[in-house]
């Protein structure tokens, strides 16, 4: 992926395509294009703001997601595929760190609404858990089936949802094809959903909120961070074992 890699390959395979001058010229073109694109993105942000009261802010966060995913080669699919395919757990550990950090934030935001003793749950201010920040959503057989199908699809196509969009920006033609069928699949999924929801075996409509399930914030925090910590240790051990360090 990186330039140093491709240049070594080129040198060794003796099919030298470009001179250093051509290379420098290409880089200059890309850098200029990058600056032009940056200006256009700002202008687009101004337009979005005219359409949506929080548009420019949302736009900046969205661009931030893309920039961060690309720069750090962060990939959710790889975090689940690599342990099996290559034995590497570096991304798995990175995902666990991100989950733990995000948990701290959601915990603070949610606690403000639920109250430390969950006393606000079910009152006028907070009718049900699905109104909380984050997606506290229905969990059941549909989650298992959906997640399983999604996992197969993400590995085969070479990118999950955020990964597909990121790779489209990087110039992968495969992901431009994948998004068309991702959209088609979403339509099929939407058509199937009322049928699934009508089946009590396939669909359970109630969300399960850990602080409520475990009887308070303290046990929920212990379970949440305890599990994440245990998984981090496991991933670290597994990665080292596979790399032959243990």
């Amino acid at each position: 992926m990186s330039d140093t890699n491709t240049s070594t390959i080129r040198r060794s395979s003796a099919r030298v395509k470009e001179t250093p001058e051509q290379r420098a010229r290409k880089q200059k073109i890309q850098l200029t294009a990058g600056i032009v694109v940056a200006v256009l993105l700002i202008l687009l942000g101004l337009y979005i703001q005219t359409q949506n009261p929080k548009g420019a802010y949302i736009w900046m966060i969205g661009l931030g997601f893309g920039y961060t995913l690309q720069r750090s080669r962060f990939c959710f699919t790889a975090s689940m595929r690599d342990p099996i395919l290559t034995g590497s757990t570096d991304l798995t550990k990175a995902v666990i760190i991100a989950l733990a950090l995000a948990s701290i934030g959601y915990m603070a935001l949610q606690m403000k609404l639920t109250g430390v003793d969950l006393s606000n749950l079910g009152t006028e201010n907070l009718k049900d858990v699905s109104k909380l920040p984050g997606h506290v959503r229905a969990v059941g057989v549909h989650t298992v089936i959906g997640g399983f199908i999604f996992g197969i699809g993400a590995v085969i196509s070479g990118g999950c949802a955020s990964g597909t969009f990121m790779r489209m920006g990087e110039g992968f033609v495969q992901q431009w094809i994948a998004i068309i069928f991702f959209i088609a699949g979403s339509v099929i999924g939407m058509v199937l959903m009322p049928i699934v929801q009508a089946s009590p075996i396939l669909y359970q409509k109630n969300p399960v909120y850990l602080p409520q399930l475990l009887g308070g914030w303290v046990p929920a925090i212990i379970v949440q961070f305890g599990l994440l910590f245990a998984l981090y240790v496991l991933a670290d051990w597994y990665g080292k074992k596979k790399a032959g360090e243990l």
Partner: protein, 174 residues
């Protein structure tokens, strides 16, 4: 390597890759910054079904009358849809990132296998995300840290799916 000496500023700020940990911290911060200000949490796949429905309307199929849409297509507006805006942001943010790093390259399809992988993988992801009420972001990165059981269940399920997918990938698509 000589380029490094020639343009140390560009190398340091635009070309150098970030560590995974940097990615972890920034993604968590951005996701929280989004929900704090807008009240809406980060998702990705929600709008895809709407775009598909809009396309069907465009080619003359009245999808809006289907139970799945139930009239929601008529009032759908891309720029009012927070998730649609961040989705476009991911594509163009990544595009900007590779351009500034001077690493943009159209990566062509190598064989028909890649096409089938994209077709099948895309379809499965679309269906799966609707059934699970979200994708690796909406049903996982925005659900698990929100102390919701569906995030944990989704993680286990997607991991199992990824294991099966890896075998299929090795057998048929590589």
């Amino acid at each position: 390597m000589d380029e490094k000496k020639k343009y140390p500023f560009h190398e340091k700020y635009f070309k150098k890759e970030w560590s995974y940990a940097t990615g972890s911290v920034l993604l968590a911060m951005l996701a929280l910054a989004l929900v704090i200000v807008t009240g809406g949490s980060w998702g990705v796949t929600g709008p895809l079904g709407m775009w598909g429905g809009k396309f069907l309307e465009l080619i003359g199929i009245n999808a809006d009358s289907w139970k799945a849409y139930n009239g929601s297509l008529a009032t759908y507006n891309f720029w009012k849809d927070q998730t649609a805006i961040t989705d476009l942001g991911i594509v163009l943010g990544a595009f900007l990132s590779v351009l500034l790093a001077t690493q943009f390259k159209i990566k062509k399809i190598k064989s028909m296998k890649n096409v089938w992988a994209a077709v099948l993988g895309g379809l499965l992801m679309g269906i799966g995300a609707r059934l699970a009420l979200g994708c690796n972001i909406g049903a996982f990165f925005t659900a698990l840290p929100a102390f919701s059981l569906n995030g944990w269940v989704f993680w286990i399920s997607i991991f199992t799916g990824a294991a099966v997918g890896s075998q299929l990938l090795k057998k048929y698509f590589m």
